[in-house]
């Protein structure tokens, strides 16, 4: 089943157009990467199905159904959880409260507070401190834990490696591979190409708001990467 599909999507902030005719599809169990330089519109793909950027022409389907008018809760209720760029941890809430916030959609599944704490024990230890008192890596774990609390069918990761030390990125990569192994689909937006190669199977290359190339990561050459991504 298709979890998320864009068909010929144009997307805008106010009157400024960012996405131009973007199409892609993510099915159950797939691990897809979106690649591209800074500012090409990768985050805007996410913002469009979250209703933050507005959909012009085109169609978005969530969990196989046309999105209709996108509300702020539409994607979450369709089983799509986002780990946003910059993590967006809420400092006014404790670590535990940030996690509980993630379970707002009340979807059935195996993820509970206890399981998230087992996955990232540091979060259990620091559950009562403010969410933003954590280090960058810990905040990323919190953002991932918060997204898992919704028991998503599709987990969207927007530049999860940004600002993190290589050892932490490796640790997160292990987590992503494990999640994929358990059947969670992944949409990975990344510029850290070795992370992408470990986690994703297929990719779409964005340039100036349009998909310019798609394929499997096995076929993606360094030559192509150099053309579209700063390495």
């Amino acid at each position: 089943m298709s979890l998320l599909a864009f068909r010929d999507v144009d997307s805008f902030y106010g009157r400024a157009q960012v996405l131009r005719g973007v199409s892609f599809e993510i099915g159950a169990g797939e691990r897809v990467a979106i690649l591209g330089r800074n500012g090409v519109g990768k985050t805007t793909v996410v913002n469009t199905f979250l209703g933050i950027a507005s959909l012009g022409k085109g169609e978005i389907t969530l969990a196989g159904k046309p999105s209709g008018r996108i509300r702020n809760y539409t994607a979450a209720r369709a089983g799509i959880s986002v780990v946003p760029q910059g993590r967006r941890i809420i400092g006014a809430l404790s670590v535990k409260e940030n996690l509980v916030l993630g379970s707002a959609v009340d979807r059935k599944g195996s993820w509970t507070l206890e399981r998230v704490f087992n996955l990232f024990p540091i979060l259990r230890e620091r559950q009562d401190t403010s969410g933003t008192a954590l280090s960058g890596g810990q905040q990323q774990m919190l953002a991932i834990g918060r997204a898992l609390m919704a028991n998503p069918a599709l987990l969207v990761l927007d530049e999860p490696s940004e600002g993190l030390a290589p050892v932490i990125i490796d640790e997160l990569a292990d987590v992503f591979v494990r999640l994929a192994g358990e059947g969670t689909s992944l949409l990975l937006i990344e510029q850290h190409i070795s992370l992408v190669r470990r986690v994703a199977q297929t990719y779409h290359m964005l340039s100036k708001g349009a998909v310019v190339e798609s394929g499997t990561l096995a076929e993606l050459t360094d030559e192509q990467l150099k053309r579209h991504v700063a390495v």
Partner: protein, 282 residues
């Protein structure tokens, strides 16, 4: 002396209940509600009308419920539309709303002052440290404390309370977790308006009811919100108690400048500590 402190608590408690509604509506809708004092006034009138038919306690309940429902209606028709508007627009619209509500009350109940009797159960006085103090005033202090504590517990421990705090801090992130933020905002505006109505009803036996009675409580609760640090619940709590005391001791000891004291405090806070009493220094 103790009597003055208690009187300060009566006023501070009522101020807190009104100010906390302003904080809630500002926190979730980014709307500074100039009509908030009118909701207090309307609560007193709804209580007046209901008490005549059904007694005091039903009157309090009716004021809270009617004003909460009005809050829902206002949220849908006014506040939601205003949330992304220029602050000057929200000021003008909610000020207009204030005038409309005052006119409405004037049309229905007339411009003469009305009074509400203290309920039988709470009439009389008690001796406190050698002076007599009205039982009803003690009830007001207790009611404000219970309602304030209930609100705090609701915000800190309930799921909706969690959404409210999250939304006030970061609406976009809260929305993407699947929280129906429109619904949360609407219920919070209803709670804020209901509290204003309830405090108007509770205050009604202490005040002469007139369509303009919302004016001074509005201004003083604005001062509370500013002094407390815009958007802070605990700050508003401390500020309401401080201003209640200042107001009361001012009237007792320096009557000629008493009404200025809260304004002076607000100006001092804005100039020397603009983040408010509870805010973090930046």
């Amino acid at each position: 002396m103790l009597i003055h402190v208690l009187n300060g608590l009566v006023y501070g408690g009522l101020l807190y209940l009104v100010a906390v509604g302003l904080v809630l509506i500002f926190g979730l809708r980014q709307v500074v509600n100039f009509a908030h004092g009118s909701l207090f006034m309307l609560g007193a009138y709804v209580a007046y009308a209901t008490i005549a038919i059904a007694g005091f306690w039903i009157g309090l309940l009716a004021a809270a419920i009617v004003l909460a429902l009005l809050g829902l209606l206002l949220d849908r028709t006014v506040f939601r539309q205003l949330q992304d508007q220029d602050p000057i627009v929200t000021v003008l619209v909610t000020f207009g709303l204030l005038l409309v509500l005052e006119d409405f009350v004037r049309t229905v109940w007339g411009r003469d002052n009305l009074t509400v009797a203290v309920p039988q159960l709470l009439q009389g006085t008690v001796d406190i440290a050698g002076a007599s103090f009205p039982i009803y005033r003690l009830f007001v202090i207790a009611a404000a404390a219970v309602i304030g504590a209930g609100l705090t517990i609701w915000l800190k421990t309930s799921r909706v309370g969690l959404y409210v705090r999250a939304f006030a801090a970061d609406p976009v992130t809260t929305g993407m977790q699947g929280v129906d933020t429109e619904r949360v905002s609407a219920s919070v505006v209803a709670v804020g308006a209901g509290l204003a109505g309830l405090s108007g009803a509770i205050a009604s036996p202490l005040l002469a009811l007139s369509p303009a009675m919302g004016g001074s409580i509005l201004i003083e609760s604005f001062i509370v919100v500013v002094v407390g640090g815009f958007g802070s619940f605990s700050g508003a709590f401390v500020a309401a108690l401080v201003i209640g005391q200042l107001q009361n001791f001012g009237i007792v000891f320096v009557p000629s400048i008493a009404s200025m004291v809260p304004f002076l405090l607000m100006m001092a806070i804005l100039i020397y500590r603009p983040e408010g009493l509870a805010g973090k220094a930046s």
